[in-house]
Symmetry: C2
Subunit: 343 residues, 2 copies
């Protein structure tokens, strides 16, 4: 059987371009080995973190970079076509990490990623399958863990969330709002600022292209902030350190400012604020918190069922559009969860 | 009565110089108001943090800067000459924050600083008075809190301590050693490296002037580190983020690299490591942990009594030498606790 797969054609020079990828046709083996499951992928998760695996070297301690000619991996949802694992049968909807291809041969106990754990059967009777890539998957887990475990969200805290119109940010912002916090969001365009205020009902929002980020945050949160949910790093983190109150926290989920930059993003020049104000800056990857997936799905799932959560998706059509999806997401041209639909 | 006091003559231009200070003669009131205590200072604590109060503006959230012509304050030990507070009597040895002057009028409930709490009577029957400025005072508390509360020191942790020949660093390094850890220290000269190895008995030590800090730390701790006790910031912090293992911690006690710099110290360019390796960077000032002073003195006091702790002091003689003491300390030319003796 023939399957299209998306491969890394070359390491990006500066910002990622669609021509850095290549679509190849490969042959999927006819015969499955015992334990194998053949899946037809239906939804691919397009995540900012893919950027860190495209260069010749990646950050220490992170997932290894892709090699030239290697098929990309990433979270995906698909339908089981054939199974030689007694725990799965034809027709099951499953979550796994062999995205970026039409057909995937997967098995339990292989590589894991946040919210995936090898291969997981999904209950799609209540929520649509792609929600397990977003609100009920790794985006939701990142938002939940960042607020709950890392941010130590406490009654009365003022929260700032960057990339608040993004997959993780839009969930973190709404969860914090639903828990009764004053929530400030920042994003990259006037249109997305209106989305934050009108759709997500945040208390304040601003465009990070404003000439003075420190001043913009000061206007949005005049009495300071207690928690900064950081998806960006760089100048955003600097503004947060400036406005955090004594004992404040930073939950660092990502540093998209440095992922796809032509030059290194400037680091905050005011790290001494961490000492002066007894601040805590803690980084995390949701993958280390898979044991909280059930708790997260209970809370976020109830919001979804009650219609209290706005779930925005930007969907690209077909595997051939995945390079465009990656580029658009990294350039901030998507809203909410970025997905690639293969059906 | 006449008393010499050290005043800020001008804000330093670049690095601090002795001419930035001025010694003035002032008159101490003959009659004490009820509640007042007249103290003759005998020991002044010379701390790196004084640097942050010499500029026209200081870091947000920190102690306010000194005004031109204002007498400096700082931790001091002295002898009560006269008391109109029933809790103190003539001859008591006390700790207070009105240093940088020969005679001080102090009272309970006024300004507090780490390990001071207004005015505190000291028991000098076992330990000499100046130890309450160092090992049993704010230096000891900073070392203790940084390891214990902020660093979450756990059995088997590999620890790196910068400024390890300094007041706080030399205590933190020795406490970690006495608790059985593998301890790496860094400092600013070959002579001080030998002090760390020969006197403090650290497992490894290096001079931070080495051409490649990342490589120097890598040689000293080939399997990585779990806790970085940061007194320096800048490139030191960058090297730590590079070598910290997953789940590692940074206890940020200070950022002396940026205190007395001609230009802004470069910030770490690898903050994404905090995300990639689930790191926690937490700042603190010992002043917020005064409630642990008793616990600290119990542990450190027992080491002192048993002769298991090397207490190094660099002593300057007379109030007139305080500007030289400040400059020498900031330039890394002192070892251990820097003190000014007024007797």
């Amino acid at each position: 059987m023939q399957s299209h797969e998306l491969k890394l054609a070359r390491h990006p020079q500066g910002k990622v371009r669609p021509s850095d990828f290549r679509l190849d046709m490969v042959t999927v083996p006819e015969e499955l080995t015992p334990g194998d499951i053949l899946v037809r992928n239906s939804w691919l998760s397009i995540d900012p973190s893919v950027r860190m695996r495209l260069g010749p070297t990646g950050p220490a301690g992170y997932l290894p970079p892709f090699r030239i000619g290697e098929t990309l991996t990433g979270l995906a949802v698909g339908e089981v076509l054939e199974s030689r694992d007694p725990g799965f049968e034809k027709g099951d909807t499953v979550l796994h990490i062999k995205g970026f291809r039409e057909f995937a041969v997967v098995r339990q106990g292989s590589e894991t990623l946040a919210g995936a754990g090898g291969v997981t059967r999904l209950d799609t009777s209540v929520h649509p399958p792609q929600s397990y890539l977003g609100a009920l998957g790794s985006s939701g887990l990142t938002a939940y863990v960042g607020l709950q475990c890392i941010g130590g969200l406490t009654s009365g805290d003022v929260v700032w969330i960057s990339s608040a119109a993004g997959a993780v940010g839009s969930l973190a912002a709404q969860i914090a709002k639903l828990r009764g916090h004053y929530v400030v969001g920042s994003t990259g365009s006037g249109e997305k600022v209106r989305f934050l205020l009108d759709e997500l009902k945040l208390d304040a929002a601003f465009d990070y292209h404003s000439p003075d980020l420190v001043e913009a945050l000061g206007c949005a949160a005049p009495d300071g902030i207690d928690l900064y949910f950081d998806n960006v790093g760089g100048a955003h983190l600097e503004a947060a350190l400036y406005h955090l109150r004594t004992g404040g926290r930073v939950a660092m989920a990502g540093a998209v400012a440095s992922y796809d930059a032509d030059t290194a993003a400037p680091s905050p020049g005011n790290l001494f604020q961490i000492v002066a104000k007894n601040l805590t800056v803690q980084g995390f990857r949701a993958g280390a918190y898979d044991h909280l997936l059930g708790d997260m799905r209970a809370e976020v799932g109830s919001y979804l069922r009650d219609g209290r959560l706005v779930v925005e998706e930007t969907v690209f059509d077909g595997l051939g559009s995945a390079p465009d999806a990656i580029v658009a997401m990294l350039q901030g041209r998507t809203v909410g969860k970025t997905l690639c639909c293969l059906r």
